[in-house]
Subunit: 278 residues, 2 copies
């Protein structure tokens, strides 16, 4: 029997999800919805979806609906979609979770699973989709006790089928952790890119770029549409994480200014220990 | 006719250089010197060098001598090696160039070529050596007018033979550029690692690490021995680069605090433009 999977948001995340699910089973039919008509045409033509629909009502008949759009859009959809069949599972893949978890209408709360796959690339749009984006990566499942038992099982099976490692935590803990592991590092990468671009001769500087700089500036390519939204949703945690970073970098600068080389050496050794747990 | 190549410093850079040169020609004999006797044994046993010597005097008979040791060591060797045959070429691969260029005794200045290959990995020691570390990467040749014509030609040929792109600039310009493209990013990576490690539950945070965090924290594995030295040698430029970064990150934090989302969006778009030139 065919399971109908709706994907709202036909970008990197939604497109890659379709490719991964297709690899895991031939029993799915994919129905797409996106306000960007070019993305709809592309997603159809490269086979990410079997069908495009134009309205939320038209996608409500799906057994499973993925929301792979920015966080603000997820909250809007949750509040506009109306009632759902009690067997319907809606899984959002937003990058922040607490505001989403709080914003889901009470009568739909059991339908929803709020998840965050810790993966992505700096590219976007349906043509950026790749079939192994999720494989071997962590997906954080948040506030799972608020989801229906059926919905929990559906989500756990789908994420396991595409090779993900399941991690459970509260939406609140997720947002704080994600600020440190993902959102603040994006702020650093954007700031690094801008610091270099504002120098007198950025071309000559960038001509020397080795692997370290390329790695550290890669996520500065990320979509401002998506990241403005994440920074807004996770404002408080993000500021805390940036301040923790600023404290460390300020200490480093002062040790260099004051020529405290032994202390600096120890500080670098402490940083090395990250890789004992990574 | 066999060319004798001396390598002082049998780590990642020196070992990889030997592997790359061996691929480019069978006419070389490699003679190694390192104060770490374990590294000498390893380098011999995995074939990075054909012979180990114990003194600077013993390596002076080489046609070409590479200095692949930290910057302080390069300056020490330049001042301890004494006189050299006028056909001898000494090429140092130190990560900062101005202090080295200034420290070479006047009577040896034509013998020396001061170069900086913009490559590396976070690993170290002879067993970290790989034969394609230099391939396709940039090497910055500094203050080349101070090197002898013969030495210029030797260095240009060797670096071209192993597939490097040659870029010329003054040692002063190099150090400023390197502060932005390499040294400050290392400070960021160390600071990021320490900011995460000092949180209450670093293991839970790191369990969520995706590609972005792994990329940005990779160079925080780098050797404190090497990087303490680089930070010391390039102190002034490094502080300037850190301050330029701090200004950008501070602006980002304030835009988030003040909820200036449109300005933040523009700032992110500006960062995106780095990749038009990278």
């Amino acid at each position: 029997m065919t399971t109908k999977i709706g994907i709202i948001g036909l970008g990197l995340m939604g497109g890659s999800l379709s490719l991964a699910l297709k690899k895991s089973s031939s029993q799915y039919r994919f129905i797409g919805l996106d306000h960007n008509s070019k993305h709809c045409t592309e997603a159809l033509s490269i086979g990410l979806v079997d069908e495009i629909v134009q309205t939320l009502d038209a996608i409500k008949a799906c057994d499973i609906i993925f929301l792979t759009i920015p966080v603000d859009g997820i909250i809007a959809v949750a509040n506009q979609i109306g009632t759902l069949d009690e067997a319907c599972t809606v899984i959002d893949l937003g990058s922040t979770k607490e505001k989403i978890s709080e914003s889901i209408p009470e009568n739909l709360r059991k339908n929803f699973v709020t998840a965050h796959p810790m993966t992505g690339t700096e590219k976007f749009g349906p043509t950026a989709a790749i079939d192994n984006l999720y494989e071997g990566k962590v997906v954080v499942l948040c506030d799972m006790e608020k989801s229906g038992r059926h919905q929990q099982q559906v989500a756990e099976k789908l994420f396991s089928d595409i090779g993900m490692k399941l991690v459970y935590m509260t939406a609140k803990a997720h947002d704080r952790h994600a600020a440190f592991i993902s959102h603040m590092p994006h702020a650093l990468s954007y700031a690094l890119a801008n610091a270099v671009m504002k120098q007198e001769d950025p071309e000559s500087i960038v001509a020397l770029a080795g692997g370290g700089f390329k790695d550290m500036s890669r996520i500065a390519k990320s979509s401002p549409n998506m990241w403005e939204d994440i920074f807004r949703q996770n404002k408080t945690n993000l500021i805390e994480a940036i301040e923790a970073f600023e404290t460390e970098l300020g200490q480093c600068r002062k040790m260099v200014e004051n020529e405290e080389w032994t202390t600096l050496h120890t500080w670098m050794q402490e940083a090395n220990t990250l890789h004992d747990i990574l």
